[in-house]
């Protein structure tokens, strides 16, 4: 029976062929490998007397690999080291199975002034995908490198890169028995931190304004929590909330005109919206439970927040007028600190799984919860503006550090900092102006 079936099917196959003599054999591919796109980054050529401290190719490589979307091939395996486009022999790169090739050069024009040039090639198409030349001062070399990363990322993934953005975070150092808290602003790779606020009392909850020009944060400098708003450029600041009780969890509305806050001035932690122009307050939650950690949906119509109204912290969503409250998380005994991805489809959150606090994502269409990390005490997840990565705080060997994870959970990276504990990272929006202090 079986052989006959096989015979028949072969016969049918033959028949199909014979009838469609002109038809081309078609092979369907449904599976691929989920890994980074293999890219070869050739160390940039250097021309000049005073070699700069920053290795552009290396900065680009770290950026790309950290995103989880690329695999960088080892220069040891390269068959050639082209420096100009005319040096490129695509065969060399096809052989080592690089899909993309990045070459470039740095030339010193005069002391402290450089010409940076790069070209990105599609190895198999033998075509240049991008090529730019910059003239920058030494203080802008890293910015140029991150911009190269952004261009390479966008050309090869079709999505904008987020390497030229910045991050804000809080550090805690102990010296002579006193604590020093700092609100820092650094490049997306953690390099070049600049102190925005320094205090002997705790600092918390940095939040970028949608235009990237301001930071809201919580400071205990007056012995209790109060919310301040500070310009990134000149450091000027103003007190936003100093009500009785706690003043915390600032979250800018997407239009930048309102601030969601958690206040306990009416006796219990509740969520309010403040019109920034008039300082008028509107209370959104009325519940004897803790309601806090508000975050706006990208369209500004809804907010998600944490509430323990069922006896343990879970995530809820409500309309921006406080109506239509619905619970979103049902898995596990602790889900908190939600924030939206830029496309509004996913929430990042902190979730307690098996006695450990992990970073997770919640798909809003089906409320599926995915855990992205496997360390413990992970907290403060913050989406990159392109939604492809999350920054969060974790603890390694008793010390608070920052780490990033790709949105699919495949690639994780720990940031290295020299001093103290690092916590509460907040990823800036796209349009944050890069500012470099020497």
């Amino acid at each position: 029976m079986k052989t006959r079936l096989i015979g028949t099917s072969i016969g049918l196959a033959l028949l199909l062929w014979f009838n469609n003599a002109m038809a081309i054999l078609t092979i369907e591919i449904t599976q691929g490998v989920e890994k980074g796109l293999p890219i070869a980054i050739v160390p940039f050529a250097w021309e000049g007397a005073n070699k700069p401290a920053h290795d552009i190719a290396q900065i680009v490589e770290v950026d790309l690999v950290r995103s989880g979307r690329f695999t960088s091939l080892s220069p040891k395996d390269f068959l050639s080291y082209p420096q100009k486009d005319t040096d490129v022999d695509f065969k060399d790169w096809r052989l080592i199975k690089a899909e993309a090739l990045l070459i470039g050069s740095v030339r010193e024009l005069k002391p402290g002034r450089y010409q940076v040039e790069f070209r990105l090639f599609d190895v198999f198409k033998k075509a240049q995908l991008a090529g730019y030349r910059y003239v920058v001062g030494s203080e802008m070399l890293r910015a140029a490198a991150h911009q190269i990363s952004d261009i390479v990322y966008e050309k090869l993934t079709g999505e904008p890169g987020a390497f030229s953005t910045r991050i804000a975070y809080v550090t805690k150092e102990v010296s002579n028995r006193t604590h020093i808290y700092k609100l820092q602003i650094a490049d997306s790779d953690g390099y070049g931190p600049v102190t925005a606020v320094k205090s002997k009392e705790p600092l918390m909850s940095p939040a970028w304004s949608p235009d990237g020009q301001k930071l809201a944060y919580v400071s205990f400098e007056r012995k209790r929590s109060m919310v301040y708003v500070q310009n990134v450029a000149d450091g000027k600041r103003q007190m936003l909330a100093e009500f009785e009780g706690i003043n915390s969890a600032p979250a800018w509305s997407p239009d930048g005109r309102r601030m969601a806050l958690t206040l306990s001035k009416d006796g219990n932690a509740e969520i309010y919206i403040m019109e920034l122009a008039t300082r008028a307050l509107r209370r959104l939650t009325r519940n004897s439970a803790i309601d806090t950690e508000p975050a706006w949906s990208p369209d500004g119509r809804q907010l998600v927040f944490t509430s323990d109204r069922v006896g343990q912290p879970q995530i809820y969503r409500m309309n921006a007028d406080g109506s239509g409250v619905e619970r979103l998380t049902f898995e596990g005994s602790y889900n908190a600190r939600p924030s939206y991805s830029a496309d509004g489809k996913t929430l990042a959150l902190v979730t307690l799984q098996g006695g450990r606090y992990h970073i997770g994502t919640l798909q809003l269409d089906n409320l599926a919860l995915q855990t992205l990390t496997d360390t413990q005490l992970d907290e403060s997840p913050s989406f990159a503006p392109n939604g492809r990565m999350l920054l969060y705080a974790t603890e390694i060997r008793g010390k608070g550090v920052l780490a990033s994870v790709s949105a699919d959970g495949r690639t994780r990276h720990t940031y290295r900092f020299e001093m103290g504990e690092v916590r509460e990272p907040a990823w800036s929006p796209y349009n944050q102006q890069l500012r470099y202090k020497e």
């Binding site: 028949t8 033959l14 081309i24 591919i29 449904t30 490998v33 096809r94 090529g131």
Partner: protein
């Protein structure tokens, strides 16, 4: 955006002018020539399998699946009818002979001549029959070979699918529902001469990943047998990701 000013640089030398244009023209001409050449190539190749196929269809009927047992059955009845035909011919000849013997002995010379001619025709008929039989035998063999080829082709298809899948770095954008068709031309070594998207997914990154997968999978595992290779000279990959 960053404060730095960027100057876009093209693949050609920034000096521009007539030189790059000339290069480009030359390359394009070369491409056109190559495409033309390859077109010719693939066209002539397609005739080969078609030839075999035609023969089988005519002899065995277009709707009959070429089962091996049936082939021999079908060949026999044809043999019978042909032999009958020949027997009838023989009988007629004999009658003719009798008539001429009885009627005229004078025309012996003519008779001999006729006999010789008849003999000649008989031999010719036998020979043509033999040829027909041989041809049919060959055709049956070819059909069997084609059936064998079909399963071999399937085996190679599986091997190719596996190798291309292994080399396909699937971008996150490639979710189920998106499809991309790429047409690939191969040389007998399995190297990819060209991989061209013939039906785009609409996502350039997905399309590029698909082309790269094919190039990276090269050389593809294809049959050494030149007749079998003809099936693989030009193949299409339908990338249809499943979650």
């Amino acid at each position: 955006m960053v404060v730095t000013q960027a100057i876009r640089i093209s693949h050609d030398h920034p000096e521009g002018g007539i030189k790059p244009f000339a290069y480009s023209l030359a390359i394009h001409l070369m491409i056109v020539a190559l495409v033309g050449l390859s077109f010719h190539w693939s066209a002539s190749n397609q005739i080969l399998p078609q030839h075999i196929i035609k023969a089988v269809i005519v002899e065995q009927g277009a709707t009959e699946p070429p089962k091996e047992e049936k082939k021999t059955e079908e060949v026999k009845p044809k043999e019978d009818s042909k032999q009958k035909k020949i027997e009838q011919e023989k009988a007629r000849e004999l009658e003719k002979k009798k008539q001429t013997l009885a009627e005229e002995k004078k025309r012996k010379a003519l008779e001999v001549k006729k006999k010789q001619e008849a003999e000649k025709r008989r031999k010719q008929a036998e020979q043509s029959l033999q040829e027909m039989l041989q041809q049919e035998e060959a055709e049956a063999q070819q059909a069997a070979k084609a059936a064998q080829a079909a399963s071999l082709v399937d085996q190679y298809k599986v091997a190719i699918r596996q190798k291309v899948s292994r080399n396909w770095v699937r971008p996150p954008a490639a979710r189920s529902g998106l499809q991309c068709m790429v047409r690939v031309r191969l040389v007998p070594s399995g190297e990819v001469l060209e991989a061209k998207v013939v039906r785009s997914s609409g996502d350039t990154v997905f399309d590029r990943s698909v082309e790269n997968a094919v190039y990276k999978a090269a050389p593809l595992p294809i049959p050494q047998d030149t007749e079998l290779f003809d099936f693989f000279r030009e193949i299409e990959f339908l990338f249809s990701p499943e979650d």
